[in-house]
Point group: D2
Chain length 275, copies 4
């Protein structure tokens, strides 16, 4: 019997004690896990102050709850665009402040923590899901953590990485499914819809979906986002860019603000049906 | 660039020529691909005449459009229950006839074709998706074919297997996503929701989802079925048993008729939202 | 604990009862499992009578024990070269006869059995490893069976498929590792060297390696063949063609006779060291 | 054509310019890549001063060239033994010094660099292969780096991570294949023997094999090590413990000193045959 083979012995914090045992994670008035689906939107990378201000205004108007944008980009090749660094975080914080959007950005080393003072949510990216020194460091802060599943990590390993954070005293953890690496090459990754359904059954933590990285191609982002809504996901994180073809990274998987708006409205409708 | 890497050179029949190029597959008045989601329900295996008659009546009442039931079960071990064979097909046909439900059952060898005379849809199972002698044989019949994706076959290979059938002259092909084999062991397989979204974009053929085999555990079947509805799937095939714990095979992934009914109603609602 | 997770309950025939419990499979004086490594060589497909006679002569001279050649090729696309069929088997048998080489060729449907009368070993290909009707049919013959592991089948499933054959009364089974499908795309498949090591520990059956399909590129075939020798494989099956660039199928993975000869000699040396 | 699909555009440093373009990495008189296979041996974790001194003496006598031992263990669960930390490095350095063995140990965060002053080779573990802040930090040292392939990283990604190190000015990089995550569960990971064969063809860097983590079970370690020797690997890293059943971590995959000795001798023989 290989079904439901989560080993629960070492999962002290993340599992539900009862059907109703749900933890919410609040960030500046936006509460993940409260039963209403939330939307995290913004560019793959903060490209300039003007750019992030413009996108922030657009996504706010179109229904975003949280603003995302990468400043330190852990790219597979050292010769690719690596983000604009610390000033990207400053621009992101300023844009969030101006339009009333809490902010999230990826941190890739514990020594960067001071740079993130004005960022509301710390994102642990897929490549760092088992970077335990980083997990322990963010576990010692009091900021909410968005923990992405590694592209080849099991659901059990994701939960164990959440335990690393909780074990340091920080329980404000949001899990994120973003697609896993499989033999299939027609899509960038294989979005594991069952993982969300299973996590919602067994874990107390809110779960968000990142269909942009999972599919890698914009025309599949909205359908997969709606699928996530149908399994009661607590939030959807999508890359949105006002001019996807001009984006400095991953433009081919970004939604336009108009596409984002339509997706968000349908996702809310589906979310209401399944709850 | 590895995105959307379907090689279209050898896909002569299955691809859309235009956005509107949709083929429907009709079976006794039930039309897959007409914009309304359909439901295929029934036991993993036909166990007895009484049993299939009872389940047929229940699923008909609860919204099923097509009755499923295995008679020849290609089990991984030769020492497991292999189905009741030819008489299972007779019972299935009788139950379908009585309750006005077209029927579908799996065929595992071309020499079995005569046994399937009274079965409406021939199912090619995951393990036989690349059994080309079988594909060619069913391609020479005029029955609709339900072609399941092999558990480790790419989307491109699924489409190429459909080409084998079409190349013999039979265009009544329904594709079926049923989960793929990955490193993740918390679920039986990984349901590839993006595959459905992609197939609906590029292929003319109707697509159904089989969440029972994909997840292997009943409490995940309904959520994943709803996710499939959210990506515009044309039908959902689920195992339904009046007493899952007594089922001779795969009982742990069967829905009860009551669970099936609720799922089907929500799936229809979601289907309407996304179309 | 996920180690060595073979479920032995349903493996009645294939497992060793003791360290020394080794079954050999003899075919016209060539005995697989006798402690001396054997070589199966020949073209991917029998292309013509002249071609197979020429290759047979070359590989015999260079150390082959068994002649291989496909007549019915289960190609992924219906529009690719499918082999020359029944007459390919006749040419293969004639070439084997002439140069004193037993022959092996792939069978893809049980109704083809009469065509294989003069072929010594029946090969079940990777795509048909779970085609149980075919397994049962060859299990009712008295010919040795070369059973290839499916590209996404587990070691346990390979052994269960061998049980299907043995359960019909035919114990002359040779297992074949030919690479599995993984996320890695730099090679055609990932050759599972540990599978051979494990099979040699737990199973009574002889095991051969097919490095041609595993790697898909000729310059890796010889190294991987030698690796298989180092884990005590009982035989190596390679595609050999006198003019690889002119081969009608899979030429890029074929060795020249000269390359084959060097590989075979080194493999024998390694085989002696490890025994 | 999916064969050999390494994208070479962003591989500026690691690829061979010609067949003879081989870089060696020397550490205290032990030269990886000089044509003679080397052996890195020692416990999974340094457990105590006495223990590492004892094991160092044994493996030195039995043919080891380099002493390994973990002090900071990046365990999947926060509740598992995490290594004895900084003093483990001190004990390891002392044992290496005493028995004339250069040392290697895993570093998991750049702030740990000062602790590694007396350690000769810095190991980047599989979980940190894409921890780019760490790669850049070790790239700014002048110590040799043992870079392990992530368990789900492609060969191309491994080479790109080596580029991160080289791009900072440190060219003393040894690559390490340690098994990849696949669907197969009979072994802990699937050792990718073709990856070594391919790396030896295309890369200038020395390559070592870690069969202990790949197989996860001691009786498969030696066969897989010999297979690596057959594809011209430059070194073999194995876990060796004088009392495997008492080891504080991963004892089930450790060789005894006696098993290590036999393996090393056979590996040298095979290595000579293939060169």
């Amino acid at each position: 019997m290989e079904k439901h083979s989560i080993n629960k012995d070492k999962l002290k914090f993340v599992l539900k004690r009862s059907e109703e045992d749900i933890m919410t994670v609040a960030v500046k008035g936006v509460t993940f896990g409260d039963g209403n689906i939330k939307f995290i939107a913004g560019p793959c990378a903060v490209e300039s102050k003007e750019s992030i201000l413009k996108i922030a205004e657009l996504v706010k108007k179109d229904g975003a709850d949280v603003l995302r944008g990468g400043a330190f980009k852990p790219r597979t090749s050292p010769y690719d665009f690596q983000g604009i660094g610390q000033k990207g975080l400053d621009y992101l914080a300023e844009a969030g402040e101006k339009f009333g959007l809490p902010t999230v950005s990826e941190i890739t080393d514990k020594q960067m923590l001071p740079y993130f003072e004005n960022i509301d949510v710390l994102q642990i990216g897929a490549k760092n899901m088992q970077n335990y020194e980083l997990l322990k460091a963010v576990g010692r802060t009091d900021k909410p953590i968005l923990l992405k599943r590694g592209f080849s990590n099991s659901i059990e390993e994701l939960l164990l990485s959440a335990e690393y954070i909780a074990n340091e005293g920080n329980c404000k953890i949001i899990l994120c499914e973003r697609g896993i690496r499989t033999f299939e090459k027609a899509t960038r990754n294989t979005f594991d819809i069952s993982a969300i359904a299973l996590l919602k059954k067994i874990s107390r933590l809110p779960v968000v979906a990142d269909p942009s990285h999972a599919t890698g191609v914009s025309e599949l982002v909205a359908p997969v986002a709606l699928a996530a809504a149908a399994v009661k996901v607590d939030g959807i994180m999508t890359e949105v860019h006002d001019e996807p073809s001009m984006a400095l990274c991953d433009g081919e998987q970004a939604l336009t603000p108009a596409e984002f708006k339509i997706m968000a409205e349908k996702a809310k409708e589906i979310s209401r049906i399944v709850r």
